[in-house]
Amino acid sequence: MDTFVQQLINGLNVGAIYALIALGYTMVYGILRLINFAHGDVYMVGAFAGYFIALSLGLAAGPSLLSLTFILVASMIIAAIVGMLIERFAYRPVRKYSRMTTLIMAIGVSLLIENLFVARIGAAPRAFPDFLGSQSQPPYHLFGNAAISKAQIIIFLVSIALMLLLQWIVFRTKVGTAMRAVSFNLNSAKLMGINTDAIISLTFAIGSALAAAGGVLTAQYNPNIDPLMGILTGLKAFVAAVLGGIGNIPGAVLGGLLIGAAETFVVGYGYHIGIASTYRDAVAFAILILVLLLRPSGLLGSTVQEKV
């Protein structure tokens, strides 16, 4: 029993990060019908922004919740700017062409960011500073053997807070209303006097900031960061967005948590039924194929569309 609870905690922990990234995929898709393949790399950029800020300000010296908060906010801002720049200089100029052009552009941007980072700082993994003292501190015990570490608690709390904040922005603010309007129909929204370029830019900014938060948070649990860390994680977050119903915000969160849990259970229990833990990644993509075959609109993305 405690093993099961533990695996659930592990799975939801991974899933929360997927969910944060999946939100960016789903928001951009909702508004532009674009799969922003560079999004996984924005997640990586966020993690590295946090890493370099911490190094240059000498914040890595000791564990501190305040430093972590500062790093988190700073890297979210940097990633938001990166996201807006990508949109402004790569996607906006080709937006008037076919959707395929934008998609190819997205793949190009993704490879460009990855290879720029590899060329500039090398592919070797780097260690993100440990702000929570999780390397030396024992975890909190729930019951039996089930334990939850400080890093995991922070990941859960911050991602829930960010998701609620996003929900509030989208449904309770003027910009949110504008975002929803743009997602329903870009041209009509423009006719209604909405500055659609600004709204699209803002959508990229919010999505990128969430991904960066995912990058910094996950680095507290897993300090290993490298320029290619966004590829697989980004793809799985994309699968999560599709599973939940792409364009659907609660769907992205649900998809993320499900993929995270599914992966962890494959690893944790798969060997009982002869599935090695190395099948973890295969399972995520098998889910993608199944969803596309059985329910192309995803779990929550059916008739009522909450596209943003």
Partner: protein, 418 residues
Amino acid sequence: MKRTLFALFLITTLLIGFACERRGNGANGGGTGPILVGYYGDLSGRTSSFGQSTKNGVEMAADEINKAGGINGRTVQIITEDDQGEPNKAATVVTKLINQDKVQALLGEVASSNSLAAAPKAQEAKVPMISPSSTNPAVTQVGDYIFRVCFIDPFQGEVMAKFSANNLKAKRAAILYDFNSDYSRGLYQFFKRSFTSLGGQIVSEQSYTQGDRDFSGQLTAIRAVNPDVIYVPGYYGEVGVISNQTKQLGIKAPLLGGDGWDAPQLWQLGGASLNGNYISNHYSVDDPSPAIQKFVADYKARYNILPDALAALGYDSMKVLGDAIKRAGSTENTKLRDAIAQTKDFPGVTGKISIDKDRNAVKPAVVLKLENSKFVYETTIYPEGATPPVTSAAPASGTTTAGPAGAAAPAKAASPTN
């Protein structure tokens, strides 16, 4: 990306085809110019710490040889190629070194998968190759031109199995290994065989793949069966994180590893969570023997960092090669091959090196304990049949193979000369 690589690979292979034509009657022996030695390793990929350390060791050895007047009047020139830690690239750069640069011998790689990809090229061209630190047995089985100056995985796996069973008194071991690495899979098999033959039980076998970021699923499954020790024969990038997550799950059993852990980055990734774990390795910087301390001091003066085992092996591989060229009196490939094969009791930094009939080095391994960002010498374990030397190179002489738990005690020797 992959495509481009493949295209590049095709083009290189074609070019090589032409180059080979010319090679046939090209004299690669005798000569009076510098002796060209090709070094290939991972200088920019995921295991670049390995390649860099080895390169440092190789270059330092070459400089020492040149300063002492070279070999038979000829200087040694190292030509370095980066394979980015990818087997395909390793094969490509080795072909380049052989055909374009016309090197007379090759040094490399660290990772067994990369050595295995490159060795057939060296064998085909009959250019002697010495791997400083690839421990998978298959590497030297490629052919009679392939050698190594380190021990092999059956022994390294056996060392940790013996250490767990005899010194740590472990009865139940769990294993977490890297599914795609020849090195890790090899160690996993040999540890398992050896540990069960010593009466131990393997209670859980889990795997991961290089680049994985979350290991909590595997570790929770391992925690559920409550092992005494957990064997993690991986590379430092993943191991640092595994150690961290082990502590976050409240697992108290120590992690055991191999020489793949030995990199400065390990400490940044794992920090304090690494304390209390053990690895098997090729040598210890704590070793008080004058030869080793001179090497450590020279290396530190030159690179401003303590040499890890890979640097020491890189150094030894160049020195063994130099010694063989000297004895052969030429760099003619068959003579050089035979001279390397006849290496006996060469006094290396990583122990006395003798090449056996399978072209592997026979030598003892050390077990190091991880404590406060340092590898602290714990004990030395000798190969089966080999008697520990009377004047042991290691600090704790008398700590033998099957020594009881108490044997580990007198070890905690001299602190490193930082």
